[in-house]
Symmetry: C3
Subunit: 351 residues, 3 copies
């Protein structure tokens, strides 16, 4: 046996303020974009067409925001969540400068909170993770917290509990509007729908109609593309010993499927500007058919801009049933068993 | 419920002469090409090698003609065939200027025919669709007709029937030979076979030998790559309520598989110049193994060219049996139950 | 029936000294790289990041060595092994100049050995295959031997047996170190582990911990991407008639999976410099879960270099069980039934 193999960090291994430079910087290419498109089928014009993107003031078609998120998230897994029991939540996610094919993204994290669980077996680790391009510019910055196993259950791991202050929703003035963006000649026909910022009302719900069934090969290819090494997604031998007997699907796969389905109703939401929060309400497995619905939670003006506004949205992914009655929680406030994802994010959309 | 979601057009929504600018212009990249290659395994040298393509007079390896077709076809689905019962046929398809990675293709359609069915439930919609690159040059132009559901079965939808004149086969002088093409130094060894235009005889049949089994993940990834939104391909929950209990495979997936298999026998057919017609004789499902055979229907000289000629071919895809006895129709003229595709197209090939 | 279809070469068709220019030169793109990453999930920094690669002296992120190998190997299949009964071994594989996205690789082979089997049904063909880029520079050169069916079992095929001299392991001075390589500022943090050449000991064994389950869609997409036409990988109808009743997985797919898994323990092995030998000990099928372990067989200094050394390694892939007890052979010297691959190769690694 050798010590050269990493078994990942346990709860005892984290320290408040610890900074982690994650391995494997990644150049994101048009090949990654193509595979992403084959896996989810998004149809947003800005990400599909260099010409359309240039007419909006982009340099070229930007990489889908969620592909950037998954690439960064994936890099944190070997250091942060290889021994995770559960991925508990996201907060305060902000997207910075757009990523274009050819850009190289590197990821660092800072440990911002530690809280041991009373059962002595696990603890919650809070990290703030940042992806930067080859010029050091921030492309995404977000917090997440995750329940991690202890190496030694017989003794306490940390002297004190530290809980970070987590933003409950990213404020409008913290949203990044890409430099040079100009939507005055935005082509709603080519984008696929006429609806502008002003057409959406707070409280409005949208059923995204279509369903998509997930295959094992699909979520495995996605998760490997992101260099996410969480073994629960890939190893059927280990899965047979586990609680479900099946490989678990990476939660981000469900986010991307739901976002792609949401085109039908939100075709002009051309950029995810923030991830305010998110919960993976139930695990997903191959064979599940994903439907999605959205609710407009809030609307923001963007200071100094008359051509673009922001919508804060709840995006809910549902399994094996349509979302046209907008299932979410039961009478006791528990998530409906069909709900897989309750995602709170902010979209930029033409005014 | 919201009105922001599109449910697609019904038969009543179409008007003769109506022009539709389809959503989502698409930049086709070398990533799309790679995924296409992984899905079908074509081996044509011109599309595989920039060097080989340049020696033929191309600027670089052109994008596979069928990938261009699928990208354009996919864009028409949300407007034309989301409520289709059946995809009835193709005619008069012409490929224009070659598409190279980095080109952006936009699609428009004109409604050229409408014919209500006597059962009052459906009607046939004829459209002519055109894909153009970022310079407005035609890359593909074809007609198709499709049976579309009515929104209201209780009353007639249109006052009169209009049937377009459809070309029965694209004439030799309507075929586009790429500008700059020069086959005098064409390398038959590297292309994989010695057979020239003169070696093929009208009536000759070719069994393409190999079989390929289709997986759900494969046809789903292909169809999403094309941004084709027809829900029958993706939604197992809906499929369980349907006639087959299974997800249907996009007909174009079968065309591409058969074309890739046809390399063995037609290795020098370096460019599809026309789609004369085509019928999806039976539906295909995951688990089917596809075989293919071809018949030379006609041979055309190309005016002013001694280095290139055209073959008009029937390409037949068969399911779960070899094509070496060339199955097509039974005694009553009905398609053999093993036949999935009867495709009539024209290839350019060195003389 | 036509003679235009190739049925592949039989044992009688090969001649000592025969040179074969294989069909389909191939431009390798960043799209191919992306699909490769999605299929296996490698995390080596040099191949993942243009920035990291440039800091090492590469022009950009080089294409994964095994992707180059598969592309070249695939081209030899239609001529060499379409009628193969078994792929018997590899030897003397050397990687030359790095391949970058956009390079076009062409393949030739020379027949170096022929040995008819005593049963009269098959013979062993030895070939030396070479891949070259568009400038004619060698990118890979290796020997393999394969058992090929005879066309006519009733009479001998060749007058004499010729056995080539095969290198048993590529010597240190035959390894190619990429021109311009400079590892003095190599970033071990970003690469994912601190272990240098000096940290590895001959005889050391490393369990790579993780397992990965293979799906049909995955190995089919991989093998088609390589334009490898061996029908046993794709045709379930034929497979049902065969010995296993299932599609066989291309042996190279297992090599790539094992190499990707080996990142955990060999993260700094940034380049495969040689393939000394290799045996596919048992066939692999969809549903198998692959684990891997390595053994350090030897260590080489590189003449004139203080920044880089070489490790000769055994890489073993195991099915449906972990590799942490390093299974290989039983008491009689036969491969353990769980062992799929015994691969002998040489890695470059920073000193």
């Amino acid at each position: 046996m050798t010590s050269k193999t990493s078994q990942g960090n346990f709860f005892e291994d984290f320290r408040i303020g610890q900074e982690i430079r994650h391995a494997t910087p990644r150049t994101i290419t048009s090949g990654d974009v193509a595979l992403y498109n084959g896996l989810y089928g998004p149809r947003f014009a800005a990400q599909s067409s260099d010409e359309f993107a240039r007419a909006m003031g982009y340099r070229a078609a930007p990489v889908d925001d969620l592909l950037v998120f998954h690439m960064v998230f994936g890099k944190t897994v070997p250091d942060v969540s290889l021994n995770a029991v559960a991925n508990l939540g996201y907060a305060g996610g902000v997207f910075g400068v757009p990523v274009y094919p050819g850009d190289t993204v590197s990821t660092t994290s800072i440990v911002t909170g530690l809280k041991e669980n009373s059962n002595g077996k696990t603890g919650v680790v809070y990290v703030n993770s940042t992806g930067r391009n080859q010029r050091g510019e921030m492309v995404i910055d977000y917090s997440r917290w995750v329940m991690v196993r202890k190496r030694d259950e017989t003794r306490p791991a940390h002297d004190e509990t530290v809980l970070p202050e987590l933003a409950h929703g990213v404020a409008a003035d913290a949203l990044h509007v890409p430099v040079g963006l100009d939507l005055l000649s935005y082509d709603f026909d080519l984008a696929g729908a006429p609806h502008r910022w002003g057409d959406y009302q707070v409280g409005e719900k949208i059923d995204h109609v279509d369903g998509m069934t997930i295959e094992e090969a699909e979520h495995q290819m996605a998760t490997r593309l992101y260099q996410n090494t969480a073994r629960v997604h890939f190893d059927q031998v280990a899965a047979m010993q586990g609680r479900f007997g099946k490989r678990l699907i990476y939660g981000g796969h469900i986010i991307s499927l739901a976002r792609a389905l949401s085109f039908n109703g939100l075709a002009n939401g051309f950029r995810i500007a923030a991830i305010n929060g998110g919960t993976h309400a139930n695990p997903a497995f191959a064979g599940d058919t994903i439907f999605a619905w959205s609710e407009v939670l809030d609307k923001y003006e963007i200071a100094g801009r008359h051509d673009v506004g922001a919508l804060r949205l709840r995006l809910v992914a549902v399994r094996d049933r349509q979302g046209n009655d907008f299932p979410l929680r039961d009478a006791e406030g528990k998530y409906d068993s069909a709900v897989l994802l309750d995602f709170d994010y902010t979209l930029l959309i033409p005014r």
